[in-house]
């Protein structure tokens, strides 16, 4: 039975898993779970992942969620995966686990909080929250600085000094790619100071082409949708504020 991947390509961890499978020739069926329609909370999907998050996989009778756990499982379960993605060497693997664990409360928390509260919230039925965005931005900048000065230290083209990508590169770069949803000026302001980070994104993209670009296509379409929604929101706000003015004049 073919591996099933439950994903929304607008979700960064979902894209990391999809790109990994494509690059490594792992045959799979992709089942779209539309986050903007809250399909991750449907009873059908809760049978797959009771926590209600994408990505999730079903491999035969085995169900699994959390993208890092999925990536390391796939790297071990499918014999065709090159060692550099998740090295068997104890020391190399431990370093990759270290950056994967660090990711959650640093780059992931910072980028997710900032992007949701600056661009994505309306599509998820939530209000934009500038105070939360400011907190996210602080964590995001601190995380990018640590990637630039520590995780990308040395001459290797990828994280922890490697010359070939691992599942950590894929996970972290897909997270940063979510910044594409921002206004271009804002994205440049955030990523501009980090030259090594910018090179590393390109190195990861090049190492996983054409699948990297293919899987990110939806993100650019999503950006166009969001900008439309935001400008509609701005018109609605103008209308409602003019209504307020009108009402207050009665």
């Amino acid at each position: 039975m073919k591996l099933k991947i439950y994903a929304d390509r607008r979700s960064q961890p979902a894209r990391a898993v999809l790109i990994f499978c494509k690059v490594n020739g792992i045959d799979f069926e992709e089942i779209n779970i539309d986050l903007t329609k809250r399909q991750q909370l449907s009873p059908e999907f809760k049978e797959i992942n009771p926590i209600g998050k994408v990505p999730a996989i079903v491999d035969g009778r085995f169900k699994l969620f959390e993208s890092h756990a999925i990536l390391s499982y796939l790297a071990c379960a499918f014999p065709g995966v090159a060692d550099h993605w998740y090295p068997a060497d104890l020391f190399k693997r431990a370093k990759i686990q270290s950056v994967l664990d660090w990711h959650h409360l640093n780059l992931r928390l910072g980028a997710l909080t900032y992007v949701v509260n600056t661009a994505m919230a309306p599509a998820l039925g939530l209000p934009l929250n500038p105070r939360a965005a400011a907190k996210g931005e602080k964590i995001l900048f601190s995380s990018l600085s640590k990637i630039e000065s520590f995780w990308l230290k040395g001459s290797g083209r990828f994280l922890v000094g490697s010359n070939q990508p691992s599942i950590a590169d894929l996970s972290l770069v897909c997270e940063i790619m979510q910044l594409e949803l921002l206004d271009e000026k804002d994205r440049n302001r955030i990523l501009g100071p980090y030259r090594k980070v910018q090179r590393w994104i390109e190195n990861t993209r090049n190492a996983t082409r054409p699948h990297f670009d293919e899987m990110h296509q939806v993100l650019f379409e999503f950006k166009a949708d969001l900008q439309k929604q935001l400008s509609m929101g701005a018109i609605n706000e103008m209308e409602s504020s003019s209504k307020t003015v009108y009402l207050s004049k009665i």
Copy 2:
């Protein structure tokens, strides 16, 4: 050369690593890094972990931080560790990785945010922040509910249905033990509704005795210090408010 563990026993991930080593007969030297004196930011410690967090280890020439990465490394590197701590079986290991990954942005984020902003902040030179505490509480309750209804599902005494503890049990239970720093009434309010969680904490404590209690001793001493500081703070506040009243009367 003996394994070196850089830790502050008041840090929950540090305790998880220390208990793991004690239970599994791993010989180590413990180097205390006092978080209340900000020793984790000293140049000496930054040589060990440039990110400035405990726990960190040095095993021969190999340096590592992030407690989950350390625990899985130690489980694989030291031959005496029983398999149940980090099973070699691909499916069992993946399930444990799943709960470890889930932990960061759920129980860890919720408990840490709540405990720091309700009890620990003064000891770290920070102000208590009720707004942040409320956010932490919400994530904490949601996480405890998911542990109760999903991660502890079935008849197993430990996470993901196991009958023996894994590194995930140790990590998550040490996090919940941090709630001991709260006022007892508050702790009971939070943990009271979660019967399975309470039994599981006891199961983990029993499976790792006497080391579990030994490593948590410092936490209870820390609680006494914090309560002293908080009551001193209350006196200072009363003094300053009476000063304000006095000044405003001039």
